[in-house]
Symmetry: C2
Amino acid sequence: MPAAPKTSAEDIVAAALKLLETRGLDAVNMQAVAVAAGIKGPSLYKRYATRDLLLDDVAREGLLDLEARMGPARTVAAKARAYRQFALERPQLYGLLYAAREEGGDLVARRGEVAKPIIEALGSLAAARLLTAWLHGFVSMELAGAFRLGGDTEKDFEWGLSRLLESSGDARG
Amino acid sequence: MPAAPKTSAEDIVAAALKLLETRGLDAVNMQAVAVAAGIKGPSLYKRYATRDLLLDDVAREGLLDLEARMGPARTVAAKARAYRQFALERPQLYGLLYAAREEGGDLVARRGEVAKPIIEALGSLAAARLLTAWLHGFVSMELAGAFRLGGDTEKDFEWGLSRLLESSGDARG
DNA sequence: ACCTGAACACCGTTCAAGT
DNA sequence: ACCTGAACACCGTTCAAGT
């Protein structure tokens, strides 16, 4: 007899995302995700052959959220601020986005999608790499507590941003 | 009867570092590190209460290596190149350096030490944060394969570096 | 087709006992 | 003091059996 699914791909990824932000990456284990999605651990393997593949899908969903967040921002500066806000609001998810895993997956390509609007707006691959590297580095270090001692992180972000956008023709957001 | 140690802190960290670079972070487990250092798994807990504390010590050693590598470089540009070379040569170790773990540890402070010479040379905390954020972001993305498609990574690095050091009074290395 | 309980391997960690 | 074997908990993963 054909069997009715008790859950869906959306529910599974949503359950994993919730566990990730509320209890951290370690809490996103196959058993916990499965139960949160209404099934048992082993059943999850019908959909994801390994935990890494599940995490890839979680990251993919996170990248879509990030793109949606940056999309409406018209200037590069506004996109950069939206990027940072996303990382500050969902630090565990942001950490997952840049934790390289599966070789076979297309995560690397999907990460590249985030940078595309910036490359187009700046009109230069080198300039886009300068900005995106700084952006990723800045929020990574901020999340890791690297700026804990002294200084005004907010001001440093804005200062760096305007410094990097100098003479690049981007309207100030 | 007092018992003679079969190994030393140096041997343990060295064994862990070797496992890290040759077989990745997952291979740095308590059993494997212990055996590589000449003892059995449970004995390692006499020196490190948890695996995370062992990894903290490995990261601490890695940061000392990184500082030693950057030390001789006289200009900020040369320090930045040394930083990148270190990351490219020891990617697994570099990944470990910036993977936040123990709250109680002093790793965050030790990471700050690496930036100190750059802050001093540039004479501005904001300018140092701009450069170190870009540096960390650039090599992180490079290691993660973000620059896989198109462009000349080497040239982009040099371009970004000179762009960031413009009008900062740093002699070209 | 999809779900489940039972089982296995591996790893972090503890502990009582050895020297 | 430091080392060890045995044991436990937890988790990723497999599999035979259910519907």
